[in-house]
Structures are given as structure tokens and as C-alpha cells.
């Protein structure tokens, strides 16, 4: 499924950022892809939308995943107008004591239950809803799968 966003009034297809079930070991795409553009982004992330709009968001595509049938995660891929916009969002988060930089895309940060990376105009965030042993490794593997499709 292709995520479609509006740019300058014209429909522009972006690459499908979501690995199919099984494409990344252990991960199953468990939800439908949903897309929101700048005009209705607040329906997805409420007040969080303003930060993305200010940085020039075009839209976001999101889908749920499951790892080995249990660990649930959401993958959000924001398309920004420029790579600077993706960097602005990426840099807005403070580092935490349990975060570490990882080699992925243009820059990436791995946490215990999430991973965020940017690549060109894309800003991707993968959030797990439980902390499980090996969870961050699984998230990183999924992130590589997403990054490979951008």
C-alpha cells in the first residue's frame, strides 16, 4: 500500500515505508496503514501536530506492528518538506541516560522502548508499548527494515 500525501496541491506518492509481515524476522504488520496530512495531523497527535507543522510536515503514515505475536509497536513515518525539517524534529528531543546513537539513516537514537531516525526528508519513530527483554534489538531490526524502504 502506498502512502499518499498532498504537496503544493498536487498528489505525490511517497514510497511505502512499511515492511510486509515477515519481511523483518519476527515482525508482523498488524494494522492498516493510516495517513494524515498537515491539515488533519492534529487528529492523530493533537497538540503534538504544531511542532511538526512548524518544521514543515507534509504528512505522516502510520501502522501498527507485532513482534512474535505479542510485543506491540507503532511505526510513524513523517514526510517533511525538507531534510532540515526532519533534523529539527529529531534534534528537539533531549538525550536521556538510556539513549544511544546508532548507525541508521542520517542519524538515529535508540531507547529501551523506541527508536527514532531521520533519513533525508523522513523522520521515523517506532514506539513499543511494553518493555521486554530483547525489545530494543527487535525495534532496531524493524527500523532497519523501514529505513531500507525510504
Amino acid at each position: 500500500m502506498l502512502a499518499v500525501v498532498m504537496v503544493g496541491g498536487c498528489k505525490k506518492k511517497i514510497v511505502d515505508p512499511f515492511p510486509a509481515s515477515g519481511a523483518v524476522a519476527g515482525w508482523e504488520k498488524s494494522g492498516k496503514t493510516q495517513t494524515f496530512d498537515a491539515a488533519n495531523l492534529y487528529e492523530y497527535i493533537d497538540g503534538g501536530a504544531e511542532q511538526y507543522i512548524s518544521a514543515g510536515v507534509v504528512g505522516v503514515a502510520t501502522s501498527d506492528y507485532k513482534f512474535q505475536g505479542s510485543l506491540e509497536a507503532t511505526v510513524d513515518v513523517y514526510t517533511m518538506k525538507t531534510a532540515d525539517g526532519a533534523k529539527t524534529i529529531f534534534d528537539a528531543d533531549p538525550a536521556t541516560s538510556d539513549s544511544k546513537s546508532v548507525q541508521l539513516g542520517d542519524a538515529a537514537r535508540l531507547y529501551g522502548q523506541s527508536v527514532v531516525f531521520r533519513k533525508g526528508v523522513y523522520l521515523a519513530r517506532i514506539t513499543a508499548f511494553d518493555a521486554v527483554p530483547g525489545g530494543s534489538d527487535a525495534l532496531l531490526a524493524l527500523a532497519h527494515g523501514v529505513e531500507g524502504k525510504l
Partner: protein
């Protein structure tokens, strides 16, 4: 509740008086100029598992409500909030997955309301979107005679606009159907307003929240809460602080989340938000982060809500009677 250890910072004599229809009503007695806010925390909330234990959630709610109302049993407080025959809405804040009012908390309130004489069919658990409600763990239902779980996206908004100050908006038809609203926010940082809790949750009552995020939502938040229907019908706040975020909100960001394992209750929405902001600030300091003001989100709406024009409550900590208790 067995084995509880109480830390009472300041007790207020006299029963609270609900301020329906008034700009702001306070309790009677010597400390009447102070707004009571009760916080109850349970360090063992998540035993044996990582999720809050349902029975402990219920116990925490009952403890908070009985403390607030100086009540001897769990039902008595609700009789001071609602009357039989009224339609009661529980306005959730379920925008963020993992950051929604707990299902057990909502279930307990629904049970207490029915014990207080409200018919099941007169209770509506609701929020802006059905999708968010489902994601938060609530099963949508609009069957007559049973507690309803519905979203404004399916029920729609009133045709007629309402206004106050900077705000012109249309109210959810669910909200206008309710005689009484229980405001059930979740403690979250917010990258525009600093912290979102009771007053900001009213953005989920209207059709055009996206138009009210400029200028750090100020004076929109205060003005929206002054819309007569909102000011009058929102009688009580039960804030979920079991899981909260101190950065990156209002979305769920596990890297910035922590388990406060508590509830905050009260009538004064400004006082609730003021105390909530202090809790987030404390956690940010603990994590070595900037204050919300240094970050550029200084919660200016609190002062506006408390000013002479609005008088929705107090943002002055010296005028808040904060009662913090722990269940151990």
C-alpha cells in the same frame, strides 16, 4: 484500606461544596479561601504485574474521593457530585495510546455512579474519536440501558456556535446531552502549552481545537473553559497520573514516561493544573531537563484562567490545600 501511610501536607476543615453554575466555589470554614486538591499514590499499584492492578486502582480512587469529601464510604462522594436522573459524561483524554485514563479507573467510576443512583444508560464514557477510545482499550457501545462508550466523531457537533472571548466553537452533541461532566485527563507534558491536564482536556469537547493552539493556547484554554456550558457542567476532575510523560507529550513517548502511580482529584481545574505542572517540573528537574519556562512553554494559560476576568480557580500554590497521601 489496610496498611496505609498518610502524608497530609495540609488539611482543610469542612466539606467541599461543588460549584456548579458558579464561577468558582470553595469549601466552607476557616480554610475556605483555599482550593482542595487530593493526590493519592500507591507504590504497589503495579504488583504483581507491570500494569496497574484493577483492585488497587479502585481502592486508590475510593481513597482519593473519600479524602476529598471527608466521606465514610466510597459511594457518598459521588452523591455530592451527581443526582439520580442526571445524564453523566466521563470526558476522557484518550488521544495518546498508553496515556489514556485506565479502563479499571473508568469502570470503577461507572460502578460508583450507579451505586449513587445514576442509571447505567445515563452514563456516557466518551472522547473526541472512536478510534482513540478503542485504542485505549474501551469497547465502543451505544446500546440503550447500558453505559455508552462513544466518540464525537460519530455523534457530531451542535449546529449552533458558542462563544467566549477569543473562542467561537461548536460543542460535541455528547457533551450537551450530559447534565454533568466528569473531566478525566491524563498527566502529560505538552510541547505547546507545557503541561496538559484538566483545562486543556476541554479541547476534546469542541469541533475546532486545531484553531486554538496559537500563542501557547493562551487565552484560548481559559476562554474555552469559560464557555458557560463547559464551566457549569464540568463538576469534578479525576486525573489519571498512573503513567505520565515529562517530555515529548502529548503523545506517548516511552523514553520520557514514568509511573507516578497516582490519581489527582478536585473541583478547581486551575489548581489541579497548577499542581500537575509542579509534578512535571519536578520530574524534569530530576532528569536534568530545562524548566518548562526555559523550554519556551511556560504555562501562561494558568494565570489567565485565574485572573479577574476568568476566575476559574487559583494558580497560587499558597491558596491550594494540597493533600497528598500514599497507600503502601
Amino acid at each position: 484500606m489496610q496498611n496505609r501511610r498518610e502524608f497530609v501536607k495540609e488539611m482543610v476543615a469542612g466539606a467541599a461544596v461543588l460549584g456548579a453554575g458558579k464561577k468558582f466555589a470553595l469549601g466552607q470554614g476557616k480554610a475556605a479561601e483555599k482550593s482542595k486538591v487530593v493526590i493519592v499514590r500507591d507504590a504497589k499499584l503495579r504488583t504483581p504485574g507491570p500494569a496497574p492492578d484493577e483492585k488497587r486502582v479502585a481502592a486508590m480512587l475510593d481513597h482519593a474521593m473519600q479524602t476529598y469529601f471527608n466521606a465514610q464510604n466510597p459511594v457518598q462522594p459521588w452523591k455530592q457530585v451527581v443526582r439520580p436522573g442526571q445524564v453523566v459524561g466521563l470526558k476522557l483524554n484518550s488521544l495518546g495510546r498508553m496515556l489514556s485514563p485506565s479502563v479499571a479507573l473508568v469502570a470503577t467510576i461507572c460502578e460508583r455512579l450507579q451505586q449513587a443512583g445514576i442509571k447505567a444508560g445515563d452514563i456516557i464514557v466518551w472522547d473526541r474519536g472512536s478510534r482513540e477510545l478503542e485504542a485505549a482499550g474501551f469497547k465502543l457501545s451505544n446500546a440503550p440501558g447500558a453505559v455508552r462508550f462513544i466518540g464525537s466523531d460519530t455523534e457530531g457537533y451542535e449546529d449552533a456556535a458558542v462563544s467566549y472571548g477569543s473562542v467561537t466553537t461548536r460543542l460535541s452533541k455528547i457533551f450537551t446531552r450530559c447534565d454533568v461532566a466528569i473531566n478525566m485527563p491524563v498527566l502529560k507534558s505538552h510541547n505547546i502549552v507545557g503541561v496538559t491536564m484538566a483545562m486543556k482536556n476541554m479541547y476534546g469537547v469542541i469541533n475546532n481545537p486545531s484553531t486554538m493552539h496559537g500563542s501557547a493556547c493562551n487565552p484560548y484554554i481559559a476562554d474555552l473553559n469559560m464557555v458557560p456550558q463547559i464551566r457549569q457542567r464540568v463538576r469534578f476532575v479525576v486525573g489519571d497520573m498512573m503513567t505520565a510523560v515529562y517530555e515529548g507529550g502529548p503523545s506517548y513517548r516511552p523514553e520520557f514516561a514514568w509511573n507516578e502511580n497516582g490519581l489527582i482529584v478536585g473541583e478547581d481545574r486551575v489548581a489541579i493544573d497548577t499542581i500537575s505542572a509542579q509534578i512535571v517540573e519536578r520530574k524534569r528537574a530530576e532528569k536534568g531537563l530545562q524548566t518548562l519556562a526555559q523550554k519556551g512553554t511556560p504555562l501562561t494559560y494558568l494565570a489567565t484562567a485565574a485572573d479577574a476576568q476568568h476566575r476559574l480557580g487559583t494558580n497560587d500554590p499558597a491558596r491550594i490545600a494540597l493533600i497528598e497521601q500514599r497507600i503502601a
